[in-house]
């Protein structure tokens, strides 16, 4: 274990914190309605932070600093890099939308987004229960504020309220689980907890109680059944830019936190928490997919689709350990990591198109609003259909390889339930294909309701096209990102 007392591992976080504060102050002086200065500074900050993280992750080394409270490893580095990029892309897509809805009267959107990202960074790097919890709270508190940003908008306010109440409950679960762990092992440090649990000297019942609460809290953050109630309402009710802010990058942080807690801390208990994940995964795929069929609101449909996609992520996480043998762990967890990264990439583009079609006074969130999009704008219809085919898991798009890797991990684990579970998962993805195809049908086969062409600023057009192209390109050449995830997870598990 390399101990490093310097601040080097935390430079990106420090930069982010300083810049977020600076942007908040500078924004007081900004007069332009588009808030170009603070927007530009936010972009610059995010780009630099993403580059710093990528650079650190590329070196492939693991550092601990602040007395083991913070870890900097390739997995964390890449997830932070992608989280920063996702936030950047979200702001690019969301700025025109926010400006149209009077959400840029102050610069809160930028500041809160940067603080939310800081929260994700802390969650991803935490190697200590309290640090993880602090990061999580920073993220969720800023998210509550973001959802409620349109305070004169009844639906958004209701969504914020629901989110806050349920979110607070989930944080309570998590904290309770953490206190159990602390009580049982006498430490808040994840590495120490691991050693204590591995020794087998700890009271199993107390540990299990803690694990149950931890898993429940994490399940809430992922939004898997039965802790999914907030997802549809918040996705639908929040302003679309905030929906993307919540539905995109934070999934990466939730994944990292799950890995830190369940794998790095509690791998010896894997046989126990894997069983819980099986139940969560099956329920999520079933309910997410079935409920999505009934939706007419696209944001709500994508919310249920998220629930089912998270079920697939859990499939990777529950395939790591078989009968106490961790040989397949790296393969399994890296498949989940690949899944979640590509999921975020796809979600960004899908919501990017929704944001683009929304105009002043028109939300464009009903599926019917997309009628005949292909005739109005073949490019954006193309981007949207690439996203939907990818979410449905049709090759040659990246979503297919994500599903392939988690299903491969599950079969390779050789668990008794593996084959039935895989068949269940593919049948569920068949149901999924139905509702994704329905949106494509509306875009391509139906006649348009309006003849207005879709216009977008150059920045949105370029980023959205790149985003769509990347989903296709990663579908044709997925090897690089897969190898990156595999290396990152191997390094993390090796320490």
């Amino acid at each position: 274990m390399i101990e490093q007392f310097g601040l080097a591992a935390l430079y990106p976080e420090i930069l982010l914190c300083v810049m977020a504060t600076l942007i908040m102050l500078l924004d007081l002086a900004v007069k332009t309605p588009q808030r170009t200065l603070t927007y530009g500074l936010s972009m610059l900050t995010l780009a630099i932070v993403a580059w710093m993280e990528a650079d650190a992750a590329g070196q492939g080394a693991t550092f601990y600093s602040f007395g083991n409270m913070v870890v900097s490893d390739p997995m964390g580095g890449w997830l932070k890099c992608f989280a920063a990029l996702a936030t950047l892309v979200t702001l690019v897509y969301g700025r025109p939308y926010a400006a149209d809805r009077d959400m840029l009267r102050g610069g809160e959107l930028f500041t809160l987004s940067l603080f939310a990202l800081l929260g994700m960074f802390v969650m991803i790097s935490g190697n200590h229960l309290v640090v993880l919890y602090l990061g999580l709270e920073l993220l969720t508190l800023t998210s509550y504020a973001l959802v409620a940003m349109r305070r004169d908008h009844a639906v958004a306010t209701e969504a914020a309220m629901k989110y806050f109440v349920l979110g607070a409950l989930a944080s309570g679960f998590l904290l309770y689980g953490m206190s159990m762990l602390y009580g049982a092992t006498g430490s808040l440090d994840i590495s120490t907890i691991f050693r204590a649990v591995a020794s087998g000297q700890i009271n199993h019942q107390v540990l299990m109680l803690g694990v149950v609460f931890l898993v429940a809290g994490l399940a809430f953050k992922f939004g898997v059944v039965p802790f999914h109630m907030w997802i549809p309402d918040v996705y639908q009710g929040a302003p679309t830019v905030v929906t993307l802010m919540i539905g995109g990058a934070p999934k990466l942080a939730a994944f990292a936190m799950t890995l830190r807690l369940l794998v790095e801390g509690l791998l010896p208990l894997a046989m126990d928490w894997q069983q819980m994940l099986v139940v969560l995964a099956v329920a999520s795929m079933l309910i997410g997919n079935l409920a999505a069929i009934a939706q007419t609101n696209l944001k709500r449909m994508l919310a249920f689709s998220t629930i089912s996609q998270m079920g697939f992520v859990l499939i990777g996480l529950l395939s790591g350990v078989v009968n106490g043998n961790t040989a397949a762990a790296a393969n399994a967890y890296s498949s989940s990591m690949f899944y979640i990264i590509t999921y975020v990439l796809t979600t960004l583009a899908a919501f990017g198109v929704i944001l683009l079609l929304a105009r002043e006074g028109f939300e464009s969130e009903e599926i019917a609003d997309f009628a005949g999009l292909n005739q109005r704008s073949p490019l954006y219809a193309g981007v949207m259909s690439v996203c939907l085919f990818s979410l449905a898991g049709i090759p040659p798009l990246v979503g297919f390889y994500a599903k392939l890797s988690v299903l491969q991990a599950l079969i390779a684990s050789g668990q008794a339930l593996a084959i039935p579970l895989v068949i269940f998962a593919v049948l569920m993805s068949l149901i999924g294909a139905f509702y994704y195809l329905r949106v494509i049908k509306v875009m391509y086969f139906d006649a348009p309701l309006t003849a207005t062409t879709v216009s977008a600023g150059a920045d949105v057009r370029v980023v959205l096209s790149l985003n769509g192209a990347l989903i296709l390109l990663l579908g044709i050449l997925p090897g690089g990102l897969m190898a990156l995830c595999a290396r990152a997870i191997v390094t993390t598990l090796g320490t």
Binding site: P378, G382, I394, P395, I411, V422, M482, A486
Partner: protein, 492 residues
């Protein structure tokens, strides 16, 4: 870049360019780019035929580079005698479809042409992929352009047809995916098809794999009783879509039986041969009878396709040289003949906008040139000696008689049904007195349609009169396959 890569990627690149070309004001430019693209794609497949070493069972024009390291997936292409003709057939049919859609398609021309070119490249990919994952990616990717082709340019009930096509075939493919992942783990982490052919597998595992592959390929072929999607889809698809679907996409399924089911699970294939033969005979006889009562020309040809593909699967599962070679010849000839049948119906539909047999009568009086071609294709569809349809069916029946007289007998009676429903349709549509005003106002085919018909007619006659070039290339590969399938793979 090897020739096979060119055959795959040239049409896909042209298709991508067409998609980028944009709106319908440049309709003519788009059509010419599409035609050039299709012709260049056909041209790059010709050296594959020219350079193919006849008499060798080995894979030729092999390209192999790592593709996805983590799963040990290779970009591994190759052709042997079994797949060679399908590469050429696909490129040829694409040219025909582009010409056939020239004036008919007026909306979103670039997307129509682009979809067909991309589809062409993907289907060539299926026929040349020697890595199971690469195969699966191409196999599944074909669904996307076909879904859009049916849904955008299809008939009144197109949306139902597009969904039925997509979901029905996706269900089968997903079960195959489970089998592929299982084999990947069982073979110690490889998607190499040739390694899988040698992998010993226990009997019950082989049976499960056989049925997983059956789910994917039987739906695609389609075999009775999972054929129900085909008539619905054919009726609603645009002419070009029907032609490609019948001519090539159905063959993807049959080809899968040869590449996956039989060599990977030979013991299960023998075990369930009776089951497969029974389903094939039902397709040949029962579906042939169903075809006879159809009122809709496209539906009739769709059912006739199911019956003809029944001959193909029958030929496979009697495990004889004649049977398998005959089945492959039947696949190629059906590619020409069914494509031609659907394009003929398209010619009539463009003019009268009806597919009902009852809307026609006496077409020969107003469209003599067209009726001559249509009659030729109809004869080929019944398997008249001297046309493409005869060779394959005759070989399969001969093989079947050798295998079991009664099976051969049953298959041979189906030829009578085939003749009956085809000729009866010809009588009602083309012959007799002019039935109504629509038919009286018909104009005979123009130069473009004549070109399409003539190209197909040449192919149909050439294959019927001189089938040697078709059968010669496949002999060695078929013998090799059968020798492989005859050996048990059960672990000792």
């Amino acid at each position: 870049m090897g020739l096979l890569s060119l055959a795959i990627w040239v049409p896909i690149c042209f298709g991508a360019v067409l998609l980028a070309l944009g709106r319908d004001e440049h309709g003519n430019a788009v059509r010419w780019v599409a035609l050039i693209g299709a012709l260049v794609s056909l041209a790059v497949t010709l050296p594959i035929y020219g350079g193919f070493e006849v008499g060798s069972a080995a894979l030729q024009f092999v390209e192999k580079t790592p593709w996805i390291d983590r799963f040990n997936v290779f970009y591994h292409l190759g052709v042997d005698g079994i797949s060679l003709w399908f590469v050429l057939l696909t490129a040829f049919i694409t040219v025909i479809v582009v010409i056939a859609g020239w004036e008919v398609i007026t909306e979103r021309v670039n997307q129509y042409m682009g979809a067909f070119l991309i589809l062409s490249g993907l289907m060539i990919g299926v026929f040349t992929a020697m890595d199971a994952m690469l195969f699966y990616v191409f196999f599944e990717a074909t669904l996307i352009p076909m879904y859009l082709i049916i849904g955008i340019w299809g008939g009144p009930n197109k949306i139902y047809a597009a969904f039925k096509f997509f979901l029905y075939t996706l269900l089968g493919s997903l079960l195959m995916l489970v089998a592929l992942i299982y084999l990947y783990n069982a073979s110690g982490g490889s998607f190499d098809l040739i390694a899988w052919h040698k992998l010993p597998l226990a009997g019950n595992v082989q049976a499960l794999l056989f049925f997983a592959f059956f789910a994917a390929f039987a739906v695609k072929v389609p075999m009775w009783p999972v054929h129900t999607w085909l008539p619905d889809v054919h009726v609603e698809a645009p002419t070009g879509g029907s032609a490609v679907l019948a001519a090539i996409m159905l063959k993807l399924g049959a080809y899968g039986f040869l590449r996956f089911s039989m060599p990977i699970a030979p013991d299960a294939s023998h075990e369930y041969a009776g089951f497969m033969i029974a389903l094939s005979l039902i397709a040949v006889i029962y579906v042939g009878l169903v075809a006879m009562v159809q009122q809709d020309m496209k539906k009739l040809v769709a059912y006739s396709s199911v019956a003809h593909m029944g001959f193909v699967t029958l030929g496979f599962f009697i495990f004889s040289d004649l049977g398998v070679s005959g089945a492959i010849v039947q696949m190629i000839s059906h590619g020409f003949v069914s494509g031609a049948m659907f394009l003929s119906i398209g010619v009539l539909y463009d003019r009268v906008h009806s597919r009902e047999i009852a809307s026609y009568g006496g077409v020969v009086n107003t469209m003599p040139k067209f009726a001559a071609f249509a009659l030729l294709f109809a004869m080929a569809n019944c398997g008249l000696p001297g046309t493409a349809g005869f060779v394959g069916e005759w070989m399969v029946i001969l093989g079947a008689v050798e295998y079991n007289f009664w099976i051969g007998m049953a298959a041979a009676t189906a030829l009578i049904f085939g003749a009956a429903y085809t000729l009866w349709m010809v009588k009602r549509v083309y012959l007799g007195a002019i039935a109504n005003e629509d038919v009286r106002n018909l104009v005979d085919i123009n130069a473009r349609e004549f070109l399409v018909m003539a190209l197909l007619a040449i192919a149909v006659l050439y294959m019927g009169i001189y089938p040697k070039p078709f059968t010669d290339v496949m002999d060695a590969s078929v013998a090799d396959l059968l020798q492989h399938v005859a050996q048990s793979k059960l672990p000792k």
